[in-house]
Amino acid sequence: MIRCGRGLKMQKKHTASCSSQLARIAHTAFATFAVVAMALIVTSFAAAGGQTEVTKPAVPSGPVTLTWWGDSDFEDANMQIADGFNNANQNITIKYQGFPYDAYIPKLQAAFAARQAPDAAQVFGSWMPNYEKNGLLAAIPNAQEYQNRFYAPTTAGYTYKGVLYGLPHEFNIENGGVLTYPAMFKAKGLAYPPKSWDEIVKDGQALTVMSGNLFKVRGFDFINTDSVMFLFLANILQQGATYWTSDGHVNFTSPQAVKAMQFEVDLINKYHLTDLSEVANTDIDSSDTFFKGGAAMSMRGPWVIAVGQQQYKLTDFGYAPLPSFVPGNPPSFAAESGWGEVVATQTKYKEAAWKFLDYMMSKPIEEQFNLATYTVPADKAIAQDPAFAEKVPLMKTSLNMLQYGRPLGLVWDRDFLSNAIYEGYQTMVAKKETVEEGLKKIQDSVNTMIDQHTN
């Protein structure tokens, strides 16, 4: 008899006869677990569709523990809120956990998908439409009363089909203000602050410092995913037009849109106020460049003020208002909904959760949060309170702008939108396509994305 495994050649020829018994048993074992695996798959797919079960509202009689997730950026402010609430309420304990922004997004999704969601969560408004569409968030009681308190753009992301599902902490404004070094203006004898875009362009050119082909000081910097998009949208709005069609699609090919984008491309190609060399550098934001002295003017939201003061420990910079593109027209701008609070439909403790949200939205606590996190208030009363403005003098520019803000609109995936515009912008600056071509491409891809979400 030929022995098994004598050598490679023999193995190949005599495998079947030698190990048939072995094979049969192993075959059965394999077949069994294959069947088990497939069964698991089938049942899982079937079960995966069952997310609409509404949890029976339990009436908590004993002490209740609520899990509350938040952004680790706001760790101190959130701990303050949790502690304050816990001290004032013996029956309800808030168990808070903060997560870093990048990981928070997939984590939240996974948790909701597997019915492991926290009771309450601090979330970013723009993420919410998908959650709202799938009934994962609980509708806010007394919605009307809250709607009147807050600026429209702040609640837009938390509203779906007319129902309010969340309450905002902040007005996420990325427009209307520009970081400046007043000393640079003074040194060159330029009027500060600049009162028109013509002045900005001229001042920017005067303040630009080159070293060969590289920028030592950029005249007017705005190269980041937010500013490029919001500058573009604001320009369209200020011309009195809109970028939405009546059927929920975007229109970026109107003459106003072309004019707006052309202007932005000109800022680099015609006026040479900055360039794209830092685009790929993910660990440096345009605000970092500014704080290191690399720019004379840099457009960014007011949150950078806190960075400059606390991280860079600078005191010699200013935050000036950006004028309207069309003199005479108000400086309108688009804003998305920012950080706010929601309650999961899956929670067993709705009453306790509402109590917690009420606490957070009370005026003193809201103000406490805004001050601790250096966020612009969503609450009209706080934003228009002069006492509040005194505590954050550099934020005054933004506070004065809030009235001109308009909701960004239901764009479903705002990261997709900003990436599409940002990438398109780079191609247009590199002259690989004309402004008209580039805008058409952006428009088409964004509309395709919108269709994906609405069918």
């Binding site: 190990s19 394999f30 997730w69 680790s72 950026d73 870093p100 997939p106 984590k107 492991q116 860079y312």
Partner: protein, 274 residues
């Protein structure tokens, strides 16, 4: 035969040393950065050596995060994962290398294929499975999905394949049981490979941060690499903290590495049959 120190040999050694030292430069950068304050790292005029060395970064990592708790969690999970993976890889590699059965080819290619799917896609399904098992937010959710390593099985198979069949047959004729053959003959032969696999597995388990971040909620259950991202907000970057965390994360792995290195070297010299 006498071996003379040729110019070629000297040049080669020198070249290797220079290259080797260059490999270490980024580490030095990390260590130096961890000793600077955040403001200094961010300033426009940062120098190579810290101007005002400070332990503020380390302080923040150690006090603002339950670092020692995390160290313990990481140690337990990584050790269990490594021990179990070494065993399952060795025995599976042995079976794939030296036994014949009909499902072998299919199984092996399935093994291979499982390594080719990006984590982003299996993350949610794995999370759903783990949730159904009821172990979300427990350390077992870190351990259980990582017990079998296709890489480890493949690696062991390649090395065990070259073991001569006669050796195993001889033991069988002597009446040794299959498991005994595996434990007493096969395993000692592949010591260097096992050491290498042990180090790789420990490091991978130790440095994994995305999965623990997704599946763990309670801060006391988290593992050490989370410290890397924990202080990173959307806008605020704490560079010195990230660097300090990086240094602290590496220290235990270095220790394990040096321990395993000794085994590695011993294994190389003990290759009896060779």
């Amino acid at each position: 035969m006498r071996r003379r120190l040729s110019v070629g040999y000297a040049a080669m050694v020198a070249g290797l040393l220079i290259l080797g030292l260059m490999m270490v430069v980024p580490y030095l950068w990390m260590v130096l950065s961890s000793l600077k304050s955040n403001a200094e790292i961010l300033s426009a005029h940062s120098t190579i050596l810290p101007r005002h060395p400070t332990l503020a970064g380390f302080n923040m990592v150690l006090t603002q995060a339950p670092f020692f708790r995390w160290l313990w969690n990481s140690l337990i999970t990584s050790t269990i994962i490594t021990a179990v993976t070494l065993f399952t890889s060795a025995i599976s590699g042995y079976i794939f290398a030296k036994f014949e059965f009909r499902a072998k080819k299919v199984l092996f290619f399935t093994l291979l294929a499982s390594m080719m799917v990006p984590f982003a896609v299996v993350m949610i399904p794995t999370y759903l499975i783990v949730a159904r098992m009821g172990i979300v937010d427990h350390l077992s959710s870190i351990v259980v999905p990582s017990l079998i390593s296709a890489f480890g099985i493949f690696l062991c198979r390649q090395f065990i394949e070259s073991l001569p069949r006669d050796l195993l047959e001889a033991a069988r004729i002597d009446g040794a049981g299959e498991f005994r053959i595996f434990a007493a003959i096969v395993v000692p032969q592949i010591r260097p490979v096992m050491s290498a696999l042990g180090i790789f597995t420990f490091m991978a388990a130790w440095n994994n941060y995305l999965w623990p971040l997704i599946v763990l909620n309670d801060i006391d259950r988290m593992t050490v690499p989370l410290a890397l991202v924990f202080f990173n907000g959307r806008h605020l970057q704490n560079w010195n903290v990230v660097m300090s965390a990086g240094v602290l994360i590496m220290v235990p792995v270095l220790v394990v590495f040096f321990i395993f290195q000794k085994q590695f070297v011993k294994g190389l010299t003990l290759t009896g049959l060779k």
